[in-house]
C-alpha cells in the first residue's frame, strides 16, 4: 500500500482546507467525538427540520484524516433524513472496514465518490478511528434522541 493512496486528493483537500468548519448559529443537535489516545476531537452541530438535516457544521482538532472525514460528512449529510444518515454512516464504515460497496440507492454518485476515497484507510488499522470518529458521534447522537 503506497502512502499516497492514503493521502488522496480528496482527503488532502478536505483535510487541509475543511468545509463547514465553524459553529452553527442555530442548531438543535450537537455531539462530540473524541479519541483520548491520540487527542482527536470534533464537535458537530446540526439543525434538523422536518426530519431533514437542514444545516450541519463542525469544529475541532485532529489529523488530516479526521478533519477530512468530518468535512466530507458535513457535505454528504446535507438534506438527508435521520434514517438516511444512519444508512450512509453504516455504508461509510463498511467501505473502510469490509471494503463493502453495496451503497444506499439514494446516495448521489459524487457523494459516493467522496466517501469511497477513504477506502484505503482500512489498510492502516490505527487510523480507522480517525475516519470513523465523526460518523460514530453523529450515529450515537441520533440513536440517543430516538430512544
Amino acid at each position: 500500500m503506497n502512502i499516497k493512496e492514503l493521502y488522496k486528493n480528496i482527503i488532502l483537500d478536505h483535510g487541509t482546507s475543511p468545509r463547514n468548519r465553524f459553529r452553527l448559529q442555530n442548531f438543535n443537535h450537537e455531539t462530540i467525538g473524541s479519541n483520548p489516545l491520540c487527542g482527536d476531537k470534533v464537535h458537530i452541530f446540526f439543525n434538523v427540520i422536518d426530519d431533514l438535516i437542514d444545516q450541519i457544521s463542525f469544529v475541532g482538532e485532529g489529523c488530516a484524516i479526521c478533519i477530512a472525514s468530518s468535512s466530507v460528512m458535513t457535505e454528504v449529510l446535507q438534506n438527508k433524513s435521520k434514517k438516511e444518515v444512519v444508512a450512509i454512516s453504516k455504508y461509510f464504515i463498511n467501505v473502510i472496514i469490509n471494503k463493502n460497496h453495496t451503497f444506499p440507492n439514494f446516495l448521489e454518485q459524487d457523494n459516493k465518490t467522496k466517501l469511497d476515497s477513504f477506502m484505503s484507510i482500512g489498510e492502516f488499522p490505527t487510523r480507522i478511528k480517525c475516519a470513523t470518529l465523526p460518523w460514530i458521534a453523529i450515529e450515537s447522537e441520533l440513536e440517543k434522541k430516538s430512544k
Binding site: 502512502i3 493521502y7 488532502l12 487541509t16 487527542g39 485532529g62 488530516a64 480517525c130
Partner: protein
C-alpha cells in the same frame, strides 16, 4: 563501543515496511539487547521457581538471583544504606504506591501537593486521586516559553500546607532535565519530602540518589533496555517503615489470624504475591548492559545526536521544535506546519521510522504550550546519525505529500 551496539539488538535485523527500522521511540520503551532476552529464556529453561517461598534448591537460587538484581540496582542508582528498592510492575505503580501510601497517612483536606506543568500523567493522576478523595490541592510549578521550569517560583508556591513535591527527572516530551539539586535543596530547607519520577532518567541520565537526596525515585525496567512487567521504587527506609502496605497478599505478612493481620517489615511489606521473577532476574542484565557501555558515554552519545538532529531540523523552515530547554537529554518534540502529528507518524512509518505522535501522556504540558499534539523523537544507545538523516528525509516526504 557504542558504534557497533546496534548489532546486539536483534530487532534491527528485521525490515519494517521493507525498510530498515529507524527506532526513535525509546522514551516510550527501549528495545532489548540479546543478553536480556537470553537471560529471560535461560531462567525459564534452567532455573525457574517462585522466589521467597520455597526452600528447595531451585527456589533458593531463584531468590538469590532476584535479590542480586536488587543489590545491583542499589549500586546502579547510588543508594545509601537508608534507601531500599521495591519491585513493582511499572513506574506508574511505583508512583501510585507513593501517592496512595503517603496520602493515606499524611494528606488531609486542603493540604498541598506541588507538581510541575511537565509531568507525565503517571505523576499527576495518582495525586489527582488524593485531590478527589481527600480534598487535597495540587499546585503546578510553571514552565517558561522555552520549556524550562521556573524554579525561582517554587518558594512562592510552598506554604505550611505543602506536604510533598513530586517532579520528573526529565520531561518525556521536551527532554528538559530538571534542576533537581536546586529544587530538592529548597524542599529540604522547608522539610518537604520529594518524589522524583525517574522514568526518563534511569537509562539516560546520571543518577546518584544519595547526592540527590530525594525520598522516592520511581522508574521502569522496560525503558532501560530491560523486560516489560517490572518497575522500581527507591524509597527511604523511614518511609517504608511509616507506610501501610499498598497491596495485601502472600509474602507481605508477619502473621495472620482470623482477628488480625501483622505485616512483614522492610521491602517485603510492599511485595505482595508472586513477583515478576523472571523479569527481575533478567533486569540484572540490563544493568550490566548499561554499565558495560558506561552511563557517561550514553549521555554524551544521546546529547550529541540530539544536537545534530535539532540543528538539521531547525534548518527546515516548516519545522517547529516545541521547546528549547537549557539542559536537554535525548528527547525532543516538533511539529511540521499544517500537518498533524499522527499524519507525520503514519507517513514516517512507511519509511520504517518509528516516532510517536500525540500528547505523549502530557496533556497539561501541551495545553500550556498551546499545541494540540506533537511528534516526538527520542534516542537510545542504538541510534546513530543515519537515523537522523532518515528522519529528515521522512519529514521532507511528509511535506511533499501534503503539498497540494
Amino acid at each position: 563501543m557504542i558504534k557497533n551496539i546496534k548489532e546486539e539488538f536483534p530487532i534491527f535485523k528485521n525490515k519494517i515496511n521493507g525498510k530498515d527500522l529507524v527506532y526513535l521511540d525509546s522514551a516510550n520503551s527501549s528495545q532489548k539487547p540479546q543478553s536480556v532476552i537470553d537471560a529471560v529464556s535461560f531462567f525459564y529453561s534452567n532455573e525457574f521457581a517462585n522466589v521467597g517461598r520455597g526452600i528447595y534448591t531451585l527456589a533458593v537460587n531463584a531468590s538469590d538471583k532476584y535479590e542480586k538484581t536488587r543489590s545491583n540496582l542499589k549500586k546502579f542508582i547510588g543508594a545509601s544504606s537508608d534507601c531500599e528498592i521495591i519491585f513493582t510492575k511499572n513506574a506508574t505503580e511505583s508512583l501510585n504506591l507513593v501517592a496512595s501510601c503517603f496520602g493515606e497517612k499524611f494528606i488531609e483536606k486542603n493540604d498541598e501537593i506541588i507538581l510541575t506543568e511537565t509531568e507525565h500523567h503517571a505523576n499527576y493522576v495518582p495525586w489527582d486521586f488524593l485531590r478527589k478523595r481527600k480534598g487535597a490541592i495540587i499546585k503546578f510549578l510553571p514552565i517558561d516559553e522555552d520549556g524550562n521550569l521556573k524554579v525561582d517560583e517554587l518558594e512562592k508556591l510552598i506554604s505550611n500546607k505543602t506536604k510533598i513535591i513530586s517532579i520528573t527527572h526529565m520531561s518525556n516530551v521536551t527532554g528538559a532535565i530538571t534542576p533537581l539539586e536546586k529544587i530538592i535543596e529548597i524542599a529540604k530547607k522547608n522539610n518537604i519530602p520529594v518524589c522524583v519520577d525517574g522514568t526518563q532518567g534511569a537509562a539516560h541520565l546520571d543518577i546518584d540518589i544519595k547526592k540527590m537526596n530525594c525520598d522516592f525515585y520511581a522508574f521502569s525496567g522496560h525503558k532501560m533496555y530491560g523486560p516489560t512487567g517490572v518497575g522500581l521504587l527507591a524509597i527511604k527506609y523511614k518511609w517504608l517503615e511509616a507506610f501501610d502496605p499498598f497491596m495485601g497478599g502472600g509474602g507481605m505478612i508477619d502473621y495472620v489470624t482470623k482477628k488480625n493481620i501483622a505485616y512483614a517489615r522492610g521491602v517485603w511489606k510492599m511485595e505482595a504475591g508472586t513477583m515478576p521473577t523472571a523479569e527481575v532476574v533478567a533486569l540484572n542484565e540490563s544493568i550490566n548492559f548499561i554499565n558495560k557501555i558506561g552511563k557517561k558515554n550514553i549521555i554524551e552519545h544521546e546529547k550529541k545526536l540530539t544536537q545534530i538532529a535539532l540543528e538539521k531540523l531547525r534548518s527546515n523552515n516548516s519545522v517547529r521544535i516545541i521547546a528549547k530547554p537549557k539542559n536537554q537529554g535525548g528527547v525532543f518534540s516538533f511539529n511540521i506546519n499544517n500537518i498533524h502529528s499522527h499524519d507525520v507518524s503514519t507517513i514516517l512509518d512507511q519509511e520504517g521510522i518509528a516516532v510517536r505522535g500525540g500528547h505523549h501522556c502530557c496533556q497539561v504540558l501541551h495545553e500550556v504550550l498551546k499545541i494540540n499534539s506533537s511528534v516526538r523523537v527520542s534516542f537510545g544507545v542504538y541510534n546513530n546519525e543515519s537515523d537522523i538523516d532518515a528522519l529528515c528525509d521522512g519529514i521532507k516526504k511528509c511535506q511533499k505529500i501534503f503539498k497540494k
